[in-house]
Symmetry: C2
């Protein structure tokens, strides 16, 4: 399959970054960063999460952030949530809702991350779907977490990913909804380009018309190589984080990098003639703003070197 002419970039930097950073970050700084991102041409910016502020203090001001953002037409400012209470708070805040369902391919990861096994997770998705129906929200995407492997249970087979997608399609169908986009997530950095092709191939064999997206982490340096593999398969929806925000510098057995960096992904695409609708130079400035706000360096490479646009002119 040939590469897409254009991709959708779903920016997750504000939510990923402000959730994980240690230092207190001023609400006004969050708002100006989100507003700057929305000026780059990004059309979907994940801003906040409505989770328990005792567990994630950095997100305690989510409603305030949602209230303060000066919105641009054509940009969605989304918030995430983990349960009914979170969804209600998100709706109250006026943030855009990306109605979704999710499951983890690794049950061990699911239990460790959310204290729920697969059956319990699916039950929770049914509750979410009922809430979406009540609020008139159409399902936008499903996500399969740890779709390429898991630190607890090891390798994840393509067959298991197909099984997970089938479960989500069934749960959605029970609620009278179809899934327009399935995002395959390399939650803990196990993917490689051959594995991406295998998993994407297996899901497409079963549902040839289903749109797929990739949510990639750069944990072990293969983030953009995996993105390239996805592009070569015609994948046209990617999640990423400005500057590579969201890395967890001193967590667990090492330093887990976050999502692939938006600027670097956009650079990869533009250099290969793939459109993103994003102004790369403004986006790099956003990454530098993020570094100034959080007070330390981010992993994005273009933050250090700049793009080739200025050099190409000479």
């Amino acid at each position: 399959m040939s590469m897409p002419g254009r991709i959708d970039v779903n920016e997750e930097g504000p939510r990923e970054g402000f959730q994980i950073e240690k230092g207190p970050i001023f609400t006004a700084d969050k708002v100006r960063f989100i507003e700057a991102l929305a000026e780059t041409g990004l059309h979907d910016v994940q801003c906040v999460s409505f989770v328990d502020p005792r567990r994630v203090p950095g997100m305690a001001d989510s409603a305030e952030v949602a209230r303060l953002i000066k919105r641009r037409d054509g940009v969605r400012y989304t918030g995430i949530f983990l349960n009914q209470r979170g969804l209600e708070r998100a709706l109250e805040s006026g943030i855009d809702i990306r109605a979704g369902v999710q499951v983890s391919a690794s049950e061990a990861f699911s239990v460790s991350n959310t204290n729920k096994d697969t059956a319990e997770t699916l039950a929770e998705q049914r509750t979410a779907l009922a809430l979406y129906a009540e609020r008139g929200l159409r399902l936008e995407s499903a996500i399969v977490m740890t779709a390429f492997g898991c630190n607890f249970s090891g390798v994840v087979t393509p067959e298991r990913v197909v099984e997970c997608v089938a479960m989500l399609i069934d749960v959605a169908a029970e609620a009278g909804q179809a899934i327009p986009l399935v995002r395959l997530a390399d939650t803990v950095g196990w993917a490689n380009p051959v594995g991406v092709a295998r998993v994407v191939g297996a899901v497409r064999d079963r549902w040839p018309g289903l749109r797929l997206g990739l949510h990639l982490h750069d944990t072990r340096g293969l983030g953009l190589a995996n993105a390239l593999a996805g592009l070569q398969l015609g994948i046209d929806s990617f999640d990423s984080s400005c500057g590579g925000l969201g890395g967890c510098p001193f967590a667990g057995h090492g330093e887990a990098a976050g999502n692939i960096c938006t600027e670097d992904l956009v650079f990869l695409c533009h250099e290969m003639g793939i459109e993103t609708g994003v102004d790369l130079e403004r986006l790099i400035e956003c990454g530098r703003m993020a570094e100034a706000i959080i007070g330390h360096r981010l992993p994005g490479k273009l933050l250090r070197t700049g793009s080739l646009n200025a050099l190409r002119g000479s």
Copy 2:
């Protein structure tokens, strides 16, 4: 073309790293790092360079390093040189010589880097070839620098790269030598996967049987995506640096990363079923040794997270 079953990894970390680091590095530390690399299964380790010690003080002890290395069978310990005096010092030191010829696709880069234009560079290659003949050295490779673009002259066309390869083949032929391997170098981080395919394709169209290698830098984050593109084209020879040694943290207009990181390249290959002959776990330990020796962090990702080998067992 399908991916190769096995690649050659040419390790350049010691020379790249010790040349560029500010702090004085003990000769004994260089030697133990080189010896550790040689125990990983790497069969070609670029150790030192015989350049003017007034210009590159970090390489003043090259002869001493060459003398002290305890050698393993089957491993080449190579040194580089820029002129006749350098080659003579290298030969005296007993280091292995990788007889090569080189030219820069960008003449502006050539002048800036070596103060020689293309004609002068070719004259220099003739001198080198005469010296190789005198010493009975067979030509091992040719390198085309800035084969994908240059900060001074911008985009480099595939036609220009073909022209450069032709010039080197001609110069070698005058001396009665053939070129067994042409290494295409992304000296300043301009390559992208589509560009790699274009340049490799153009060179192969002209010389279908010629073996090609890639020398990639990770300046703008595309290093491993470009390596993947090369692997997909059947390229089976790569230059890289343990830990990503050789980056220039505060040079020029930003922070220029060095060669792609050997561990990360080996990880990419192993995860896709491509053999390298290298023990990845030992190699990661070498990267950590390099960090301890130079006293600061290196860009390699596996240094932070480790490979997946231990996790896969569980």
